[in-house]
């Protein structure tokens, strides 16, 4: 199981790449409402990038149930 700190560090790199914003920091409370470019299509690109980066696979139900980055990190941790 990957350490939580490592997950958030890796997620921060992914978020900066996907949303093209070098200032982004992945934190548990972060939601789509906090980032202007985080629409439903970008969310799917984000999910695909996370899957590849951590070598995990999410189900459609898991993806649609996510409410914030904290839940994404928890899901990643459970699958690694």
């Amino acid at each position: 199981m990957i350490d939580t700190t490592d997950i958030y560090e890796k997620l921060s790199v992914i978020f900066r790449d996907v949303f093209e914003d070098e200032t982004l920091i992945a934190k548990p409370s972060l939601t789509a409402d906090d980032i202007a470019g985080w629409d439903s299509l970008t969310n799917l690109r984000l999910v695909l990038t996370v899957q590849k980066a951590f070598g995990v696979k999410f189900t459609a139900h898991e993806i649609t149930s996510l409410n914030n980055v904290g839940e994404l990190a928890t899901l990643v941790q459970a699958k690694t």
Binding site: R45, A60, T64
Partner: protein
């Protein structure tokens, strides 16, 4: 017949708009017939299928009003955007497996749902990396024989 490894057959383009009036005016001026407006409570959008004897179908998608919809943020940035390609497939599962076997990254965007616009047929959305969002309707349209209604027939 060209090789179709995925078993996907094109059905329509999905066009997300803030308000459908201009899209309808544009498409009708091209000779499209616009179906009745349908509200899909499961997808949380309003829909109309626009058909033409010679051009590809266009599904116009817009928010239902006050309630949030999955396209809200997309249309904040783009007043109109072709955002998905829709196909039919006898077996969406086999199509997805074939896409994966072709070395493409694909993720399910939602659980499958019954689509009001397509007579309750099962639809599912997937995101293919570097391709975009695709919708797959289960079944063979040749056996349907029931395109969406003309304006006024359904609301």
């Amino acid at each position: 017949m060209r090789d179709n490894r995925f078993g996907l057959n094109f059905h329509h383009f999905g066009l997300a708009v803030r308000n459908p009036d201009d899209a309808f005016r544009y498409l009708q001026s091209l000779g499209y017939t616009v179906s009745a407006t349908v509200h899909d409570p499961l997808q949380r959008v309003n829909l109309a299928l626009c058909s033409h004897p010679e051009m590809p179908r266009v599904e116009v998608v817009w928010p239902p009003g006050a309630d949030p919809s999955p396209i809200d943020k997309m249309i904040q940035r783009h007043s109109g955007l072709v955002y998905h390609l829709c196909y039919t497939a006898e077996s969406p599962e086999r199509a997805v497996t074939a896409i994966e076997r072709a070395g493409l990254n694909i993720v399910a965007a939602s659980t499958s749902k019954e689509a009001v616009l397509f007579g309750g047929r099962e639809v599912s959305f997937f995101f293919v990396e570097n391709v975009g969002l695709i919708e797959i309707i289960r079944g063979d349209p040749a056996e349907w024989g029931d395109e969406p209604a003309e304006p006024g027939d359904v609301t």
